[in-house]
Amino acid sequence: MRNLRIGLLLGLRQIQRANKWTTLLIIFVMMFTFLNLIAVSGILVGLITGAERAVKAEALGDLILTEKDSEDRLLDTESILRELATYPEIEAFSVRYTGGGELEAHYKERRSLTAERDIAQVTVTGVDPILEDQMSGLSDTVIKGEYLDPNEEGYILIGYYYLEEFAEQFGDIFDTIANVEPGDTVRLTVGDISKELIVKGIIQSKVDQVSLNTYITEREFRRLFGRLDRNADQIVIRVKTPGTEATLKEAFVANGLDRLAKIQTYDEGKPKFITDIKNTFNTLGSFIGSIGIVVASITIFIIIFINAMSRRQQIGILKGIGIERRVIEIAYVFQAATYALIGSGLGALLTYGFLIGYFEKNPIHFPFSDGILVAPPEETFIRFLVLFVITLIAGFLPAWMIVRQNTLNSILGRK
């Protein structure tokens, strides 16, 4: 305690009397090191989190009801829907019917049977346009034309990955049709049944489940696909209070809904690769950040070393008049700790006070997601602890090296 008190006094006075610009520079180095540590991995993880958030909002929702493993579809969908209507915790839900079909364009202009057909194998989703819009905001993704009207039939929304002009940027990955605009007629074939549909709109989203999809009304879908039992493929639900989906799931299970459908929260139902990529990016970010830590610790080492070297005579005098080595080491460790604390504090202030909000409002646009900055406080705290401990070591080592030199040699400035 005595050593600590005197060490802190010496350290504090050294900071107070140090060159202000040098101190400012050290604090900036620490701040940028902290930001490097937090922001690099935060943005990398934020790319996936942005994608995940979009998938949750535009496709999967908070809870997903799908067919049980032994079934093809949700059993007794009508009963499920009646049950869902009794839960006030549900903000919105959408019933989806899905199937595959062949979409053909420009068939009317085809002059001979041998001419190449403009076709694409597509996913078709039948929805109630109003419920789907409430659930996923599908109408917001319309970039050309209009959204589906529940009272109209014979219309289709086409995801932009199925259109040659939009999908070009991805090479030949997607099966596409060319030059289709709202108002054009296309033919959708499911098995032996074909139906002419008018393109109502083109939809664009960074979520594949939306952009690589076509939407028609559920009535139309059931007729086209012969799904007369009204059993759907998927029901997606959004809860009023985020974070309560697990509780709602428990309530569903308690009321026997799990006999009719497989019930999963988003976290349970999301593809595993998302979690894997997220972890990989996090590790990558930590690795890049750790290079920053090494640079910062070397910087702190050099600064403290030069500082201690330039005060070698004073250190010798302190030892000469009876001050223990440990006290002097504490003084330098205190300085390093102060730099780390202030630098990290400013970094944290900048991260939580500005950067996270900024990236939330101005996400980084990537083809597959809108990247945000993700910095969970508990992870940030762990990274700060790592930075802090390494800084303490970087402050201690040079002090230790110089303090252990011969006292008289230090006082007299001899080597």
């Binding site: 005197i6 005098i317 000469g320 008049i321 009876g322």
Partner: protein, 229 residues
């Protein structure tokens, strides 16, 4: 009077092999409690080196040093540091104040190290600074004081802990004659009024006249000793 310093057959060599410099060549040196002894000699004679051996800042190559019944050569580094803190006081020719600390804090640090509370250390430090005639300069940084004033603070630091022996290594070397004389008068007063044991290195005869004994060193050996009082 009891012998407080008893150094026997002190040798100090620097370097190795053919480059060995033999600075002290078998010095026997005793100081009695309450004595004020000056060590004089030309530059390079070995007077400061002798002081460093006596003041536990250095270790002789050969010989023994017993201070206040403690064989200081048997102490480890931590014990020597503690011994210096509790038994010895130092006045260096370059004042040796810590520039980041105020005058008061410079004096307080060894007192805090001795285990005094902040208030006790502060009170003792202020009294010590008052005793060397520097009242009102408690909060000045060393850079804000003249050379003579800094040396007074250095003396205040050395005596605040009431050391058994005070070592002064050419305390007037960096001072003008007026300031130098004031410092010598202050040191003399400490000896005469408080019975402080003092060992001082100086190369100026005029500053040694107040001592009880002057030891002359030449080429690493004591060549003469005169008793003035």
């Amino acid at each position: 009077m009891t012998t407080i310093i008893n150094a026997t057959n002190i040798h100090r060599k620097f370097g190795e092999g053919n480059l060995v410099t033999h600075v002290l060549k078998g010095i026997d040196f005793q100081v009695k409690q309450g004595e004020f002894v000056a060590i004089m000699g030309r530059s390079g004679a070995g007077k400061s080196t002798l002081l460093y051996q006596l003041s536990v800042l250095d270790q002789p190559t050969e010989g023994s040093v017993v201070i206040d019944d403690t064989d200081v050569l048997k102490l480890n580094e931590k014990e020597r540091t503690s011994f210096r803190l509790n038994t010895l006081g130092y006045i260096f020719q370059n004042y040796a104040l810590i520039p980041d600390l105020s005058a008061e804090e410079n004096v307080m640090v060894p007192l805090l190290m001795k285990g005094l509370t902040w208030e006790e250390a502060r009170s003792k430090a202020q009294k010590s600074i008052d005793d060397v005639g520097m009242s009102g300069k408690y909060n000045n940084l060393p850079a804000e004081l003249s050379g003579g004033e800094q040396q007074r603070i250095s003396i205040a630091r050395a005596i605040a802990g009431k050391p058994k022996i005070l070592f002064a290594d050419e305390p007037t070397a960096n001072l003008d004659s007026v300031s130098g004389q004031q410092v010598i008068d202050l040191i003399t007063t400490l000896n005469r009024e408080n019975g402080q044991t003092i060992v001082m290195v100086t190369h100026e005869r005029e500053y040694a006249v107040n001592c009880q004994r002057v030891v002359h060193i030449e080429d690493g050996k004591i060549v003469d000793e005169e008793r003035l009082r």
